[in-house]
């Protein structure tokens, strides 16, 4: 299947906004396995961007390389016009990260973690504490702020991770599966905070394999499968003729039309045996 690529500013005569993230020729191998095979991608600034794909598509690997947590084999990455690997000083101050599958400092309480991260980021102590209080309030963690994170639920962990990622007011926020295993109430809270954040002109890049969620949240999506970008662009363009992003996605990754068909004809309630 040929890769479909849509340009973010295809129709408009307006000047293109600077890209939040610019990826060129990005590769990563783990032994024999190629996790990311030559990605070129430009993510527009000021958008709510979804990176979607099935498990093992390379989303986490890509986000880790973009955020400086994993060294690419090849390729360049720029965030807000600065090279991630050549100019970490400019990049690390401008990004917030919530990775998946990595721990937090779990023997600190939620408030202590925010205080710690703020000071590591070089924020003044008073300012850190003020922001921490507000974030804990908005994210509905004020009641558990003195509990150790090791005792937090999954939803609470994602929320405190989000708070830590927002503390220094980054320009671009990278979230790996921020809604995975999160209860609906916490998910709504996270969603509200992210929507407010993007409304102010900041960029959110998040990965997910839940299409409905991406469809309802994002205005720009990139579809990944088997280490490649299969399509990227504004949501409506990627969805195209399909009735939903889910259908468009299945079409793109070549999983459409796979039906149980006749194989399980015996399966079903009502009839005996």
């Amino acid at each position: 299947m040929p890769d479909q690529v849509f340009s973010a500013d295809a129709g408009g005569a307006r000047p293109a906004p600077p890209a939040a993230v610019r990826i060129a020729g990005l590769w990563k191998r783990f032994g024999e396995q190629v996790a990311v095979s030559g990605i070129d991608l430009e993510l527009p600034a000021g958008k709510f961007i979804g990176l979607v794909g099935p498990n093992g598509a390379g989303k986490t690997t890509t986000l880790s390389m973009v955020t400086g947590l994993l060294r690419p084999d090849q390729g360049t990455i720029e965030v807000a016009g600065h090279d991630v690997w050549a100019d970490p000083v400019s990049v690390k101050a401008r990004i917030g990260v919530l990775p998946e599958g990595l721990r937090l400092f779990e023997r600190l309480s939620g408030r202590e973690l925010l205080g710690y991260m703020g000071r590591l980021r070089g924020l003044p102590g008073d300012e850190t504490d003020k922001r921490a209080t507000q974030l804990l309030d908005v994210l509905d963690l004020a009641g558990s702020q003195h509990k150790l994170i090791v005792d937090y639920s999954t939803g609470m962990r994602k929320k405190i991770g989000l708070a830590a990622a927002l503390l220094h007011n980054p320009e671009v926020l990278f979230l790996d599966e921020p809604f995975e295993g999160v209860d609906p109430v916490s998910a709504q809270t996270i969603r509200g905070v992210l929507e407010r954040y993007t409304a102010s002109g900041a960029t959110v890049v998040f990965s997910s394999h839940v299409m409905e969620l991406v469809e309802s949240l994002c205005d720009w999506v990139a579809v990944m499968a088997a280490g490649r970008i299969r399509a990227s662009g504004p949501l409506a363009e990627v969805r195209g003729e399909a009735s939903s992003l889910q259908d468009a996605f299945l079409e793109l990754v070549g999983a459409g039309g796979r039906d149980a068909g006749e194989a399980l004809d015996w399966l079903g309630g009502g009839t005996a045996r």
């Binding site: 955020t67 400086g68 947590l69 994993l70 060294r71 970490p88 000083v89 990049v91 690390k92 101050a93 990260v97 990775p99 599958g101 990595l102 721990r103 937090l104 400092f105 779990e106 023997r107 600190l108 309480s109 408030r111 202590e112 205080g115 710690y116 991260m117 000071r119 590591l120 980021r121 070089g122 102590g125 009641g143 558990s144 003195h146 509990k147 150790l148 090791v150 005792d151 830590a164």
Partner: protein
């Protein structure tokens, strides 16, 4: 569905236990090898013990030894669930809640199935050996025949009763923390046993144990062996009382076990209740007084977190307390035994200096949070310096205290300044090599289990870095040691070793931080990968 009787379910449980053992072995060849090795070892060791105990027969001290052995055995059974809370091979009764089982048949079936396994076999060897060693005459033999099953039942019931009563603790986070900390008990305990043993050997042997045995022989289930011993010596009244105490003890344990088991199986799952309670009773964690003394900014924050982790993280706590305890026990106990040297006080500095190694491995994969805030060698330098300072905040006063104490006990005050100088110089060397090793040879520390301190495949890396690091630290202190020797030979002013040692320690620590900081800043993704395994 009617409830099953004891006779019906006991064979089922025993078969279930055997299946669990068998299937557990099928899972991996490594586990099978470990099982076979421990089986061979236990059989050999058990039979050797048996032989040793049989040979003890007729010895005047046989009663003392066997009674104490039974006490130690029971203690071992009691604390075992704490160490192996996750790997307990016995049947987990909470899996049986949905089955129509009455408590009494269930207890009997669980008790019988608990007697299947390596541990019970070892216990059986010791019990039989102990009885053979002390049983004299027909009365002794008769009591002995009763004592073996009673001792076995007592040990198993004790272990199960304690485990069931504490199951909420053992399956909670606090319990798991406790299990991790239990490694500490072993490390410190081994030192104490070592010194106790030396003392015993010096004080003319087993006579010293008699007062302890006199108490233990009245404590069930060790009373079973006590009864055999008493009966063999013709004290039938004493034997009868001890036997009765054993029976009462076993019955009491079984009753307590049944009670907590029933309660456990009919009340809601403890995990959610405990969590809710904890939220309610969570203390306000405010900055305590000492935290205000820390510097501001990154240094203070990193120091504060390091010191908090010493207290709150079970792995870190175990490592620190072990270092603190061993670093004090060795010089002080040696001094108490009159074989000490004031220079042994250097050991504490060395032991605590090891904590500087693998700094980022101690963060686990949470290191990504630190990595996100390090963009320049300067950031890395401040981070490492803060961690070294946090270590020094504890180690420097500790080293001074141990040196003073050892000097006082040995009565060698003139050697105090040079000891302190050498200790602090060594600490500087360990901080220097530790910082470099943290940057060059990071490895993962698995968070579960008391005895796993290195992720599989990284053991060589860990040992090499610490071993070589200690050697290099010693070499770095070479000039200092040379100075001390020179001053000794030339009868120079030995007190100068203290200021020179402090200065030298600070200098090499600073140099180590300087060398390692650019490497940390450059190798952030590699360090993160290395510390995120397991």
């Amino acid at each position: 569905m009617s409830a099953l009787t004891t006779a019906e379910i006991t064979p089922v449980f025993v078969r279930l236990k055997l299946s669990l053992l068998r299937n557990g072995l099928k899972q991996s060849s490594k586990r099978r090898a470990a099982f076979l090795a421990s089986l061979v070892f236990t059989v050999l060791f058990g039979l050797l013990q048996l032989l040793g105990l049989v040979l003890l027969r007729g010895n005047a001290q046989a009663g003392t030894v066997t009674v104490l052995l039974a006490g130690v055995l029971a203690l071992g059974w009691a604390v075992m669930p704490l160490f192996f809370s996750s790997g307990d091979e016995t049947l987990d009764p909470s899996r049986l809640v949905m089955l129509p089982l009455r408590p009494r048949p269930l207890i009997v079936a669980l008790l019988v199935s608990s007697l299947v396994g390596i541990g019970p076999f070892f216990t059986l060897c010791l019990a039989v050996g102990s009885v053979v060693a002390v049983a004299q005459g027909p009365a002794g033999i008769a009591v002995g025949v009763l004592a073996v099953p009673l001792l076995m039942a007592g040990c198993v019931a004790l272990a199960r009763a304690l485990a069931t009563a504490n199951v909420r603790l053992l399956s909670s986070r606090k319990g798991r923390d406790l299990a991790v900390l239990s490694g500490l008990g072993i490390a410190v305990g081994a030192q104490l046993v070592n010194f106790g043993w030396q003392r015993l050997a010096r004080d003319g042997g087993l006579d010293a144990l008699e007062p302890a045995a006199a108490v233990v022989r009245w404590l069930p289930p060790a009373t079973a062996i006590g009864a055999v011993d008493s009966a063999g010596r013709g004290a039938y009244g004493t034997a009868a009382v001890q036997l009765l105490l054993t029976v009462l003890g076993v019955a009491g344990l079984l009753w307590a076990w049944q009670r907590s088991l029933t309660k456990l199986m009919v009340s809601p799952d403890g995990s959610t209740i405990a969590a809710a309670e904890e939220a309610r009773t969570a203390r306000e964690r405010q900055d305590t007084g000492w935290a205000r003394l820390l510097p501001g900014g990154r240094s203070g924050a990193a120091m504060h977190r390091t010191l908090r982790y010493v207290w709150r993280d079970p792995k870190t706590k175990a490592a620190w307390v072990t270092s603190l305890a061993v670093g004090a026990i060795v010089p002080v106990f040696n001094a108490l035994q009159g074989t000490g040297s004031v220079y042994l006080a250097c050991m504490g500095a060395g032991m605590l200096g090891v904590q500087m190694y693998n700094q980022f491995g101690q963060d686990t994969s949470a290191f990504w949070m630190v990595a996100q805030t390090i963009s320049t060698p300067r950031d890395a330098y401040v981070e490492l310096r803060a961690r070294a300072l946090a270590l020094a905040v504890v180690t420097v006063p500790y080293t001074v205290a141990v040196s003073v104490l050892t000097a006082a006990l040995v009565g060698n005050w003139p050697a105090l300044p040079e000891t302190m100088g050498l200790s602090l110089g060594l600490l500087g060397g360990m901080l220097c090599t530790g910082a470099v090793a943290s940057a060059r040879f990071p490895y993962s520390i698995p968070q579960d289990g008391a005895f796993k301190n290195v992720a599989p495949g990284q053991g060589g890396l860990a040992w090499m870095s610490i071993f070589l690091g200690a050697l290099v630290s010693a070499a770095l202190c070479g000039p200092l040691i040379g100075l001390t020797v020179f001053l000794h030979v030339s009868s120079g002013p030995l007190w100068t070793v203290l200021p020179v040692g402090v200065g030298w320690g600070v200098l090499i620590a600073w140099a180590g931080l300087r060398v390692s900081a650019p490497q940390v800043a450059r190798r952030l993704p590699e360090i993160l990968t290395a510390v995120s395994k397991g």
